[in-house]
Structures are given as structure tokens and as C-alpha cells.
């Protein structure tokens, strides 16, 4: 028996993230690079550590290789202690059959033995595709105070946008009486953030019941939470104020990166009291050459910048050649932007090359048909040929050959 942990966090990291296209072709969504030196999963992992949660299970299924390697022993997040730490939990074979994770709830059900080893009071269920800084300890304290079976973090959204979210309809004391998934006529403006605190004993009971139901999709949102509500369990909404963004699409991933360059957005990565930890590249500091022009940008270690860049983010080891222009774009680790290339409103993925004089993406104001505008994407290891072009909304896949 391991020492008891009051709280165990379970991080759902198995989704394919198909809406991120080429970026997640060979990579699980939580391992997608973010913000110049991080990966998306650094945010929930760092939040756990900074909130005092020392036991984290990461449920992986889709393309886990790079994610597993990245998490490793958990040392970068201080999650490598003797009796706790971070554990990668893929689906596995059992003596009585084996299965992929069928749904979010099933992923937790299959790992009940993992959770029970720590004999926790509470289980926190998190998503691996959100960017935010949150003290889960405060949410757990709220959960205890309300003596709830489940507490769901919510964020107030503008009423006009509420129909895009899972909305929680609440009573005056913030207890939940109804789930309203993407309502046409929203009654409330509290959006579900996908962050749950469960009293373990209750969750365990409902998970096992859900597993018995052959018609269930074994999904938290669709099955388990409504079942708990119907059974009259105490469910509360916990209001979170602060930056929170789902980065499940190319546009939202691009926007969330750009938010880091906006001084009005309350997401400070430099806060020494709430650091976001990550696996650091072993590279020298970056170099800004004579004649380079850098405005409102983030630049990581190992970059060499000879060209012009503004409102952009360079990850480790990026090269921007003389005469190249990078504007409102995200350039992921090891990518090269060659001489005279123009990259605007684009995401250039790991180890991709934008050849000399090539054009990737376009400013929205230069588009005749505004509906055709969108972020251009150059996939991992893809090459844009010298003088080539990747149009807005287009995605270049390395396996489609040179463009």
C-alpha cells in the first residue's frame, strides 16, 4: 500500500485532436508545442504541482510516443517523488478482455486500480487541451465546503457566445440543476471548463454503474454527470476568473499563442509564484543579428534571427534568414524560414522549412474574399519549396511532398 494521497489528478490526454490536422497527425494533442517553449500539457501539470497535487495519472491512447517521452520521469515538473509523481496510463490487456478507452469516463474506470492505490478522498479530472493557470487547491476547498459530490469549474462567457459552450444552469447558490450542451437558447452564461473535482467514493459508484449500462457512451458529459444529477447528488459550479482557453482548433491555438503577446491578457508566464514548468531545451541563448528587426515577440533559446519579425513566437532553435519576414505567426522548434520568405498569420510546425522567397499565409485585410481567410499551417518536417505558396486556411503535410 502506498501512502494515502488526499487528491489524485487524472489528466485526459488520449484524444486524437483531429481538428488540429497535421499538427496532431503523429502527436497527441497535449504534446503540441505552445508559447515558445511549452507544450499544452505543461499547463495542467504545472497547475497540479503548484496546487500541491503530487499524484497525476495521464491517460494516453492516441500517438503516445512523443508524449510519453516528454513526460518521462516527471522530473521537470517535480513530479518524480518516491511515493507519488506522474504516471502515464495507456489502455492495457486484462485477463478478462481488453479495450481501448471507450470514452472519458471509461478511461477513468479502467484505471480504478491505479487510483485506489492512493486511497484518495478526491479525484480531479482535467483535460489536456486547455491553457490556463488555476489553483486547484482553492477549488477543492470550495468542494469540501459545499460537501459536493462533484464540483465543475465554470467561466462566465458573453451571453451571445454561450451557445458554443456546454452551459451549466445553476440555482442562486451555484448548485447545478441542469446541463445544457451547446444550447440554442442559453438560460445561463456559465460555461463548463472541463475541470472536475469528484468525491472519489461517489465517482467510483457512478463509474461502475455506468460501465454496466450497455447503452452508455461512457462519457462524463453525456452519461456520468447527468446520471449523478438525476440521482440527486450535490453538484456545484465553481466560478473561475482568469485566462482560460480551449486550444482544440488551429484558430484557437493560434489565438491563444497571440494572447501571450497582448499585455492586456491576464496570462503572465513570468510569474515566479506560479511558474509553468517544461522540459527545457539544451541550447545557447538566442542571437539577434545586426539588421534584424524584432517587435512585440517571444523568442526562445537557440534561435538565430537575421530577418524581421513582429507579433510572433519563435520556439527553440528557429532560424529566420536575412530578408525573411515573420508576422503574427508561430514558428515551432527547429523550423527554418529562408531568405526573403514571407510568413504571415501562420503556424510553421517543428523542423519545417519555408524556402527562399516562399509565401505562407496572408493578412486578413489583403484578402478579397474574407471567408477564405484563416491561419495557414506548414506541418511538421514539411518543406515549402523556394518561391512556393501556402494559402490561408491551407495545411501542408510533409507526406504530400514539396509544395
Amino acid at each position: 500500500m502506498l501512502p494515502k494521497q488526499e487528491v489524485v489528478a487524472m489528466l485526459l490526454a488520449g484524444g486524437q485532436g483531429s481538428r488540429l490536422g497535421v499538427l496532431t497527425k503523429n502527436l497527441a494533442k497535449p504534446a503540441v508545442p505552445f508559447g515558445g517553449k511549452y507544450r499544452i500539457i505543461d499547463f495542467p501539470l504545472s497547475n497540479c504541482v503548484n496546487s500541491g497535487i503530487e499524484t497525476v495519472g495521464v491517460l494516453t491512447q492516441y500517438q503516445p510516443l512523443e508524449l510519453n517521452e516528454y513526460i518521462g520521469s516527471g522530473q521537470p515538473w517535480d513530479l518524480d517523488s518516491m511515493d507519488a509523481g506522474v504516471h502515464v496510463l495507456p489502455p492495457y490487456q486484462k485477463s478478462k478482455g481488453s479495450d481501448w478507452y471507450k470514452g472519458t469516463a471509461n478511461a477513468i474506470t479502467q484505471n480504478i486500480p491505479f487510483i485506489e492505490r492512493y486511497n484518495p478522498e478526491y479525484v480531479v479530472v482535467l483535460s489536456g487541451d486547455h491553457i490556463y493557470k488555476m489553483d486547484y487547491a482553492k477549488m477543492i476547498a470550495f468542494h469540501k465546503e459545499k460537501e459536493a459530490a462533484v464540483t465543475i469549474a465554470v467561466q462566465q462567457v458573453p451571453m451571445a457566445e454561450a451557445s458554443r459552450f456546454g452551459i451549466l444552469n445553476t440555482n442562486e447558490d451555484d448548485s447545478i440543476y441542469e446541463f445544457d450542451e451547446k444550447p440554442k437558447q442559453p438560460k445561463n452564461d456559465l460555461a463548463n471548463m472541463g475541470i472536475y473535482v469528484f468525491t472519489w467514493e461517489k465517482l467510483r459508484k457512478f463509474l461502475l454503474a455506468d460501465e454496466e449500462d450497455p447503452d452508455s457512451d461512457n462519457d462524463f458529459g453525456k452519461n456520468v454527470l447527468p446520471a449523478m444529477l438525476n440521482a440527486g447528488e450535490k453538484m456545484f459550479a465553481y466560478r473561475f476568473e482568469g485566462y482560460w482557453k480551449d486550444v482544440g482548433t488551429i484558430d484557437s491555438l493560434w489565438e491563444a499563442n497571440m494572447d501571450l503577446l497582448d499585455p492586456n491578457v491576464p496570462l503572465d508566464l513570468g510569474d515566479p509564484d506560479w511558474r509553468i514548468y517544461s522540459r527545457n531545451p539544451v541550447m545557447p541563448p538566442h542571437y539577434i543579428a545586426k539588421g534584424a528587426h524584432v517587435q512585440n515577440s517571444l523568442i526562445a533559446e537557440g534561435c538565430n534571427v537575421y530577418g524581421d519579425m513582429e507579433f510572433s513566437i519563435l520556439f527553440a532553435g528557429v532560424y529566420v534568414a536575412p530578408g525573411a519576414e515573420v508576422m503574427s505567426s508561430i514558428i515551432m522548434p527547429g523550423a527554418r524560414i529562408e531568405e526573403g520568405a514571407k510568413v504571415q498569420y501562420a503556424i510553421v510546425a517543428e523542423d519545417a522549412v519555408v524556402g527562399a522567397g516562399a509565401v505562407v499565409g496572408m493578412k486578413p485585410e489583403e484578402m478579397e474574399d474574407k471567408d477564405k481567410w484563416g491561419v495557414a499551417v506548414v506541418g511538421p518536417k514539411a518543406h515549402v519549396a523556394p518561391g512556393g505558396c501556402v494559402a490561408p486556411q491551407e495545411m501542408l503535410d510533409a507526406e504530400e511532398g514539396v509544395k
Binding site: G35, G36, K37, Q75, P76, L269, G270, R275, I276, Y277, S278, N280, V282, M283, P284, P285, H286, Y287, I288, A289, K290, G291, A292, H293, V294, Q295, N296, S297, L298, I299, A300, E301, N304, I313, L314
Partner: protein
């Protein structure tokens, strides 16, 4: 071939620190900050680790707190291991008098050397910034059937009056060796690195101690020129020995040259250092940075030209920095003007301060000062 467990690395953390009094007042030579995010010891350690050496002893004398803080368990260099790894060797007991010379230092770690199983030792100072593959040196050592192999560079020496200068024949055999040799012309100068058998080192140290001889260059190397096969291996890549405050400044400035960076920072032989988990550097609107090295965690809103900016430095709007080395976590206030300034860690320049040195004489601002 060099197998990791056949060689121990011995680093002298304190050697030559009297040459850079400004920077070593509160730290040892090995922990002098360099190049935006490193300490000098990072280069010495990374060279060993990248060459397959996984047992390293670091000999310290005094003021080694900052070094211990930096090295920790050795994890960042992959030296936190069950088998072997990093050994800090501070002075032990009253009979340790390391100020006498390197021989006395080596005598004081007699037990460490004796209990090691490795066949060879590689001795190195920590005052040189370089990226050397010791596997090549070791191959040279065995090919020549040498007793001792020293490493040298050919060129104008970094220090005009305190060098070891070798006369080397075309085979690499050391014909002669001059200590504290003044030289303005091209010569073969050593920079405190050599390889030999562990047992031979222990024997020679014992012999020297019993004769009251403490100077490694004079009493171990020079005294045995006739009796031993001493060879010299030429290092042809970039190497900067910090011999003075001015050479420290120049070595930092040399990093602006892409050729120098390409020789020091190789993708397959990276320079490891302690991780700090800073965010990427942030450049504000209206900032202007050219020909500079900038590390993680910096926030640059002012103008920076020909500078090395360490981790976590803030340069506020309107400030103008030229030819400066600004160490970790300094704050440069609005409208400051700094030219040829070396600011040690945690210096605060209040708004509007002006300070200027000259290329041949950069101004030094001590750790934690407020200007």
C-alpha cells in the same frame, strides 16, 4: 577507445581566480557567469560528459557555495547516477592546504583517487570556454603511447606574461616547456588540461609532496620532460581562457560571431547548465535589439546593441545599452544609458542612470548593487 568508466575527470574549480578579482569576490572561478546562461564550469563539465566520462570530481577551495548551488546533484549534466556521477571535493581536515598548489590539492584527494577503479584521469581547470571532444585527445594519447598528453592551442596567447608555452615537434612530442613565459607572438600555449594514468598521477604527487614540490606545471610536467613521454594535442576550435576581467569581457563579446558560436555550441555536444524554467524572452513594441545574445526570461523594451543579456534581465523603455554584459536578473530602468558596462547579478540601474567605460576598460558593477 575511451570508455566512460575508464576515465575520471578532475576539475579544479578555483584555479586562477586571483586573475579576475572582480568576479570571484563571492564565487569561485568555476561559477563565473558566462554567455547569457552559463557558468564556466558548464563548459568543463559538458566536455567531460559529452566525451563519455561519467565520473567527475570537482576540487574546491573556498567560496564554493554558489558552485554547490549551481551543480546540485549533477542532474543537469546527467551526472546524478547510481554508479559514479558527480563528486564535490571540498577541503577536508586541517592538513588540506590547497593554496600551496595543485599538487597539494591532488594530494588531498588521494583517497578519492585511490578508491577509483578507472585507469586514466583527465585534469582540467575551469577557466576556459571551449568545446573539445576528449575522445580525440584520448585516441591521440594512446596512438602516441604517451605517458602524459597536454592540450594546447596555437596562436597569440590570451595572457602575455603567465603562460605555459610548449615547443612541440611535428609528431606532437613536447621538446621543451616554458612557464610564465611572456610572448606577444604566435606560440603553443597550454590551457590547463591533461590526461595520464591514474596510478602515475598518484605516484608523482606522492613523490612531489615528499620533496616539498607543489607546482603542477613545474614539478610534475617540466621536471619530467626528459624522463616521460609527454605529448601535446592541438585544439583547433574556439577556446577562450579567462585570464583577466578584460578577457572575460572580450570572450563574451566573441559570441556575437556566428563562427565562434558554431564551434562552442554543437548540436551533438551541447553545453549543459542548470535549468531555470524561465519563459521565452519577450520583446516589447518599440524595442530595438541588434547583434546581441539574449537569454530566456528577459523582457526587453529598450534598445540593445552588441550586448550579452543573461536570464531574467529587464530593460525598460528608453534605456539604451551598448557593448554591455548584463548578468542574471538585473533591472535597467527607463532612459538609462550604459556603454561598456559589465553588471554582475541582480544589479538595479535606477531610471536615467548613465555609465560608460571603454572597450579596453569596461566598468564593473558589483553583484546586487543599486546604481
Amino acid at each position: 577507445m575511451m570508455r566512460g568508466n575508464d576515465v575520471i575527470g578532475i576539475l579544479f574549480a578555483y584555479v586562477h581566480e586571483e586573475r579576475v578579482r572582480e568576479l570571484t569576490e563571492n564565487r569561485v572561478m568555476a561559477s563565473i557567469p558566462f554567455g547569457g546562461r552559463y557558468r564556466l564550469v558548464d563548459f568543463a563539465l559538458s566536455n567531460l560528459v559529452n566525451s563519455g566520462v561519467n565520473k567527475v570530481g570537482v576540487i574546491t577551495e573556498q567560496n564554493y557555495q554558489s558552485l554547490m548551488d549551481h551543480l546540485g546533484s549533477g542532474k543537469s549534466w546527467n551526472l546524478s547516477r547510481k554508479r559514479e556521477g558527480l563528486y564535490l571535493l571540498p577541503p577536508f581536515g586541517a592538513d588540506t592546504n590547497r593554496t600551496e598548489g595543485l599538487v597539494a590539492s591532488l594530494a588531498s584527494i588521494h583517497r578519492f583517487l585511490k578508491n577509483s577503479k578507472e585507469e586514466y584521469v583527465l585534469l582540467s581547470n575551469c577557466d576556459t570556454v571551449s568545446n573539445i571532444d576528449y575522445r580525440d585527445v584520448f585516441r591521440f594519447h594512446t596512438d602516441k603511447n604517451a605517458d602524459i598528453t597536454v592540450i594546447y592551442r596555437h596562436g597569440t596567447s590570451p595572457d602575455t606574461d603567465r603562460n605555459v608555452v610548449y615547443t612541440v615537434d611535428p609528431e606532437g612530442f613536447v621538446r621543451d616547456m616554458l612557464i610564465k613565459r611572456g610572448s606577444d607572438v604566435n606560440c603553443n600555449y597550454g590551457f590547463g588540461k591533461c590526461i595520464m594514468r591514474r596510478q602515475m598521477l598518484m605516484d608523482m604527487v606522492e613523490d612531489c609532496m615528499s620533496r616539498n614540490l607543489y607546482d603542477f606545471d613545474r614539478d610534475v610536467l617540466q621536471r619530467n620532460l626528459k624522463d616521460l613521454r609527454i605529448f601535446a594535442y592541438e585544439c583547433t576550435s574556439a577556446a577562450y581562457t579567462i585570464t583577466s576581467f578584460h578577457s572575460f569581457f572580450e570572450a563574451n563579446m566573441a559570441l556575437m560571431d556566428p563562427k565562434v558560436r558554431a564551434q562552442l555550441f554543437l548540436p551533438d555536444r551541447p553545453v549543459y547548465t542548470k535549468v531555470r524554467d524561465d519563459m521565452p524572452a519577450k520583446y516589447g513594441l518599440g524595442s530595438s535589439v541588434t547583434n546581441s545574445i539574449v537569454a530566456d526570461g528577459c523582457v526587453i523594451d529598450g534598445e540593445v546593441e552588441n550586448c550579452v543579456i543573461f536570464r531574467g534581465v529587464k530593460v525598460h523603455k528608453g534605456a539604451k545599452l551598448q557593448n554591455c554584459v548584463i548578468m542574471q536578473d538585473c533591472v535597467v530602468g527607463e532612459d538609462c544609458r550604459l556603454d561598456y558596462v559589465v553588471a554582475d547579478k541582480n544589479v538595479i540601474f535606477d531610471a536615467g542612470r548613465k555609465m560608460a567605460g571603454y572597450q579596453s576598460y569596461p566598468v564593473y558593477v558589483g553583484k546586487g548593487s543599486r546604481v
